[in-house]
Amino acid sequence: MGDEQAAAGMGATSDNHPSLDDLLTYATGSVAGLDTSSLTTHLTSCGECAGIVARYQLVAETVRADALATPAPEVLARARSLFQRSRPETPMPDFLQPVRRVLAELIFDSFGGLTPSLAGFRGSGDRHMTFVAESVQIDLHVQAPVTRAGIWQLHGQVDAVASSDSMVDLVYAGEEDAVARVRTDDQGMFALEAPAGRYDLLVRLPDVIHVLPGLSIG
């Protein structure tokens, strides 16, 4: 690079830029032999040269981060071999497809109860629960009525397996008709409202319905 000026070499028009070599050396932080004060001053007023320094540092950070987090060969091999498994086909339309039902297991309850069938919300205060059904995790947060008398708020998230566009139904326990129905957003989030009662929550995925049973609210 020699005396070639950095930004000029990168397509800028001004002719008062430091050399590219100096900029790259400055970007590494090893500044011995450089006139750092004039470089620093230049960089505060020259977006082109500041961009060069920033991009060089971005590349350095990426290369260093990757070196520390390179997946082990066996991990990569496992991921590659996923393709050898049979992948679920695109789901058929609902009316053609027999739908399995899977009872979700309660694995976390901020109130301490671990029996799904007893997962009630009597009393006040918020409650967080986590259910797992096969490989799907469903988080549920139940809030007692605050602004609207008698109306409880249910916020939840279906994990990335189910991701977006799942339908979530709140039905009276043991019944099929939805009291409230909502579609998850692109983060798998959903929000429902319901009066006190005993419900099942149905998370409808393309090939399976996950059932969170016996939710007694209020």
Binding site: G9, T62, V63, P71
Partner: protein, 183 residues
């Protein structure tokens, strides 16, 4: 010409195992870096890696925005990390943040996409430039030019000029990929 993500995804859907391997190669580091940045052990990071690619594999047919595969992987990886971290403290209070309202997510997506562009740009460089820049970046604070020159079969005096020439190429590719002064 590099095969696009959309083309790779389509090839995967058509049953092309090689396309799947290319996807794993292309995005493996992006996925691997996130759990380590979140402080997870290498064992947990490996599990997250497997989970995320399993999810990708399962969702090949339903990915809606093929142009944002990196963003999908970053979001999914962070969610998987959160899930594991929360399970690890199953009997403690859940953290206030959930992946969906994670305030750092957009920043992480922007950063991850920039870093992914760097990986793509590095792959487009010739081997000599890539090896030199990698060697210099890995030993950035006080690079041992003598050792690097010996390893790469270069004259010590040519390292500085070659670095500038190689970076100029790399920078051109980065700009083509949309990584400009607005970092």
């Amino acid at each position: 010409m590099e095969v696009s993500d959309a083309e790779l995804l389509q090839a995967c859907r058509a049953g092309d195992a090689r396309a799947w391997e290319q996807l794993v190669e292309r995005y493996g580091r992006l996925v691997a870096v996130i759990p380590r940045r979140m402080g997870m052990s290498s064992i947990d990071a490996d599990d997250v890696f497997q989970d995320v690619f399993t999810l990708l594999w399962r969702h090949l047919d339903s990915l809606r925005d093929e142009q944002r595969l990196a963003a999908w992987l970053i979001t999914t990886t962070r969610r998987e990390c959160w899930r594991r971290l929360r399970r690890a403290q199953e009997h403690a209070e859940l953290p206030a943040e959930t992946p969906a309202d994670d305030p750092g997510l957009l920043e992480e997506i922007a950063r991850g996409e920039r870093e992914q562009a760097v990986r793509q740009a590095m792959l487009r460089l010739d081997t000599r430039c890539r090896d030199l820049l990698t060697a210099l970046f890995l030993d950035a604070s006080q690079p041992d030019y003598g050792a690097i020159a010996r390893r790469l079969g270069m004259a010590v005096g040519s390292i500085g000029p070659t670095r500038a020439r190689c970076f100029r190429k790399l920078d051109g590719i980065l700009r083509e990929l949309g990584i400009d002064s607005s970092l």
